[in-house]
Symmetry: C2
Subunit: 154 residues, 2 copies
DNA sequence: CTCACTGCAAATATTTTGCATCGGA
DNA sequence: TCCGATGCAAAATATTTGCAGTGAG
């Protein structure tokens, strides 16, 4: 929805950090914004970026992702499968988002609602731990697969 | 605390699943229970098990961990560093536990308190997602490092 | 006695790095 | 122009697999 906006924002951030805006970085960021719902791995992103920028190398994608993670533009996440995925931080709210991973169909849905405000406060008070960020994934059965299961039980 | 108890429980589970109780599996499970607070990687666990069972191979440790994960005896977890770690499920409560990962010193602390009862209910109601399990890690600064930081600021 | 299990080494998969070259600022 | 950024290939890690031999049940 606010994708072009985000694209500009991110390029600005890169610029402010004193980094060069190479065509490879542009293409990588652009693809990342376009497919931000997909939770791509480095390899997958590489394949997508290559469509627009065939000269790009996999190492550059890794290096760009590293830079983006340092600038807090993306989060590294991993869903049990040992592959690191990259998740664009939503720029609209300063808030994190959570994931719903369906164990039947493998779909990952995002929840853009901070459910942990109270919990984080409790962690701070009770354990003296200052929370800066979090990773929360629920594993279970998504609405679609639940419906499907119902149908099959008849 | 209830380690020997757990050890027996786990071996019983393996047996019930029709799996052989080889010396390698015994040694692996025993080490896992003994060091259950360490969040070991396969490689680290291998090194530890090797002390008691020098003949064991790394592949066996991987294969044993796979079996244990299938039987829900361990959870796979990963803390952003690309390495899969294995976390013994606490047998005492049926409940999950959460992690506090200190970004300064790298320590991982466990919280054995289910903070998400309300949140999971909300997820079910609002998103139609049936939660079976979750992974929750807070990233931040642990109490120890906070104290250290205070001292250095003086 | 049988077949699941194992060790070892080779194969894969994933990510990082060295280095000569290129090109954005 | 200059130094950061890139591509490529090689290296470093992490994990899986094929296979012949072994031993738990």
């Amino acid at each position: 929805m606010l994708q072009p906006e985000e694209l500009g924002q991110i390029e600005k951030k890169l610029h402010q950090a004193g980094l060069k805006l190479t065509p490879q970085r542009r293409a990588t960021v652009k693809t990342l914004v376009r497919l931000h719902e997909s939770h791509l791995s480095a390899e997958e992103l590489f394949a997508k970026v290559k469509e627009a920028e065939p000269e790009i190398g996999l190492a550059t994608v890794y290096r760009t992702l590293e830079v983006l993670a340092e600038l807090k533009i993306v989060n590294r996440v991993s869903f049990e499968d040992g592959i690191t995925r990259y998740d664009l931080r939503t720029e609209d709210s300063g808030h994190f988002h959570h994931h719903l991973l369906c164990q039947i169909c493998g779909a990952v849905e995002e929840i853009h609602e901070d459910l942990l405000v109270d919990v984080e406060m409790k962690v701070k008070e009770k354990y003296g731990f200052e929370v800066a960020d979090h990773r929360l994934t629920f594993l279970g059965v998504c609405a679609k697969c639940r419906a499907k299961r119902q149908r099959h039980l008849q």
